[in-house]
Symmetry: C2
Subunit: 436 residues, 2 copies
């Protein structure tokens, strides 16, 4: 009665003899930009494909900061993986947590169960890195998942609610001070968005505080914000951030974070809310594969993105330490997507008995947005900033958002937010005792 | 530096002498339909108004089942209370949990703090009632808040994910059986929506199960579903539910709920997922006010909605036991809104030294929807069903949704879902170990 109309040629789970399957089994762990691209580009390959993810959705991470700052709803930047791969008949999706990989038996371990593979693609991304200070994690959340975004949104909005009820002026200042550690694209975008929430969105909604007096501090260890960008664009970005009232502390190192604030370059900044976007640590893939990781936990890969010493095992996206023309490729979406496409083609070629050229990276440039109507963009020799760059930012993000419905809805939300500064998703849903 | 541009004439919180205020202080607890209507209708009254809610948002509860079944995002049916009352200069909003009321000192207690009142309006709604079985609560969640809706969505989607990975056929059947206890409007709407998710939305997304074979069982103690409706409409609703493949068990009493299912009329139904919409229990307002509640925890009110024996204390909405022409008014939005408007007018009249007629209820009828394109509607003598009733359902809900942006977005989501059966918000965000 419950048997499927869509029985695949073989079931790859435990209990069904794998030998029946004439097709090579490809297992992809992680359905982010890298993993999903690889899966989609294997659609015509004669393989049996299994995509494993701990959640049921692909997340459009570049817009996560807009969920964290209450412009978009989580559902608008997510697409169910099953839905994306619905018509891809050679693919199945397993929602499960990977616990390890048996590279000898060639099986991916899911607790007590396991899935066999002939080709393995690991694309499990990265998490925040707190350097030697894991105790900072609960104090200064990062932004990698929908849960993170909800937690940050909650913390941000809650700070204003608590400040409204606080009668101690010093404590009120602390509550209205927001520190963002790390001025890469995420940090810069967060700082700009928080400034807009405080100065524009919440205006005249409170009776005892003036949200527009909130202090937003952006801390960066490098000499400039957006250190991956050309210096000129970094300066433009800094100027725009200052215009929005963001305090920028470059060449500044955080040495302490506690419940009342941070210590940076020896100086204390009293702040109830601290966010962390200062560094990433790759997922534990290196442990699973029993290979040596680099300092950021990434797995060093060969020029065909395979892991040296392991047969038909590939690591792509933020989890891979991939060197290209002498420099390490950054953990950004364009790199992940190109690697996903490459690995799919390589596997298809191997299955067909053909050889492949090494991975070739095409630099797509850099892009970051600051508040509404301003972005900085570098594409090859082209450098753009301000409104024209923002329009390009918008078009690129809309273009890459998976799911037609999401695109339209996000565009509408943005249009509405742009005109009115309203925030439709200003939800605080957990009931927490208000700190006082 | 942090002083507000919008200093109200007086601060009502502790520490500021209340005697300074020449205006009567009105405190409204709860910003649901009843409380928010009361607040909005006091906008021109010469009072100082404080609205207290445990969350920061007004929730459009009649559409909560659409969040639970992954059609709408939480943000689309919520509006920040502060935003709704932004331009109402006599109002302030406090996000806090009420712990009690001191009716002698006339103060609302918020833990260690308190807020004084001259007029108190209690509109704190209701929660599920599990009759003598509070142990059923975690097993069969109800649907009253955004958190509830997220929990139900998670449970619903997770059941399909787990079934996909289950090899035991009996266990798979259990995982694909959904029991809804209680066939009032919420239960009927949930059953219809779950049937559509299983039969239409998830089609061909799974490889090892056929979601359309899911069993959906609706259990009701009364003789018909929608017992508040005219019998004819109940029958039409039952027919439509059956057409969608919902099993209806009327005159059926649940005597046991456990992790593997329910026992109803002595018979066991194996089911991993059970939802509860069978009864409500008013909020603890009766305890706060130290008055005797009725069987459902409601506070009996006089014909001006005041609490007998207490001066200038009113209870409205689902928390009130309000008798009108010999029968108790039901806990639905039209009743709550009419009571909110009435109490606002009454307070304004008293402040002005005028008298008011007793509360007069206008029956707006009954309305429930089943899946896409079908509703039943009774308005006075008018009885409608099918598509025409559904169009009215749509117009009425769009009309009452607070916030222009939300209306447009919800309309678009519905239009899209109607055409394509897609669900944009099929998010499972918690990582839970998969039961097996």
């Amino acid at each position: 009665m419950y048997a499927s109309k869509n029985i695949p040629r073989v079931q790859t789970m435990d209990g069904i003899p794998a030998a029946e399957d004439p097709l090579p089994r490809v297992v992809i762990i992680g359905a982010g930009f890298a993993g999903l691209k690889a899966a989609l580009h294997l659609r015509n390959a004669p393989v049996h494909l299994t995509v494993i993810d701990r959640t049921n959705h692909h997340l459009f991470q570049p817009l996560l900061y807009q969920v964290a700052t209450a412009t978009l709803s989580p559902g608008e930047i997510s697409s169910p993986i099953r839905h994306v791969l619905k018509r891809q008949r050679n693919a199945e999706v397993i929602m499960a947590e990977v616990t390890g990989v048996d590279t000898v038996q060639k099986r991916v371990l899911l607790g007590e169960r396991s899935v066999p593979y002939d080709y393995l693609v690991v694309a499990t991304g990265a998490r925040e890195k707190y350097f030697e200070h894991d105790e900072w994690k609960p104090l200064a959340p990062g932004l990698k998942s929908i849960e993170d975004a909800r937690a940050i949104r909650h913390k941000l909005l809650h700070a204003f609610e608590t400040a409204e009820q606080e009668r101690d002026v010093e404590r009120q200042k602390e509550l209205l001070t927001f520190v963002i550690v790390g001025a890469g694209p995420t940090g810069v975008e967060m700082a700009g968005a928080i400034a807009e929430v405080a100065r524009k969105v919440l205006t005249s909604e409170f009776r005892h505080i003036d949200p527009s007096l909130a202090r937003i501090v952006l801390i960066e260890a490098h000499e400039w914000v957006l250190s991956a960008f050309p210096e000129k664009l970094s300066h433009r970005a800094e100027r725009e951030l200052r215009r929005l009232g963001v305090e920028i502390c470059t060449k500044t190192f955080v040495t302490q974070i506690d419940e009342r604030g941070v210590v940076a370059n020896g100086e204390r900044i009293q702040a109830c809310t601290v966010f962390w976007t200062a560094g990433v640590q790759a997922s534990p893939a290196a442990n699973w594969l029993d290979v040596e990781a680099d300092g950021a936990g990434r797995v060093p890969v060969a020029e065909d993105l395979s892991v040296p010493g392991l047969e038909n095992v590939f690591v792509i996206g933020d989890t891979a330490a991939c060197t290209w023309r002498g420099r390490l490729l950054p953990g950004v979406a364009p790199v992940a997507m190109q690697q996903g496409v490459y690995v799919a083609r390589l596997i298809a070629a191997r299955v067909a008995g053909r050889a492949m050229q090494p991975f070739h990276y095409v630099d797509k440039g850099n892009l970051a947005t600051i508040g509404r109507g301003f972005a900085v963009l570098q594409m090859g020799r082209l450098k753009l900033w301000g409104f024209p760059a923002w329009v390009l930012w918008l078009l690129i993000h809309i273009y890459y958002l998976i799911g037609f419905e999401n695109r339209i809805l996000v565009l509408m939300q943005w249009a509405w937010a742009y005109i009115t500064f309203r925030r439709g998703v200003r939800l605080i849903t957990q009931v927490e005792p208000l700190a006082s």
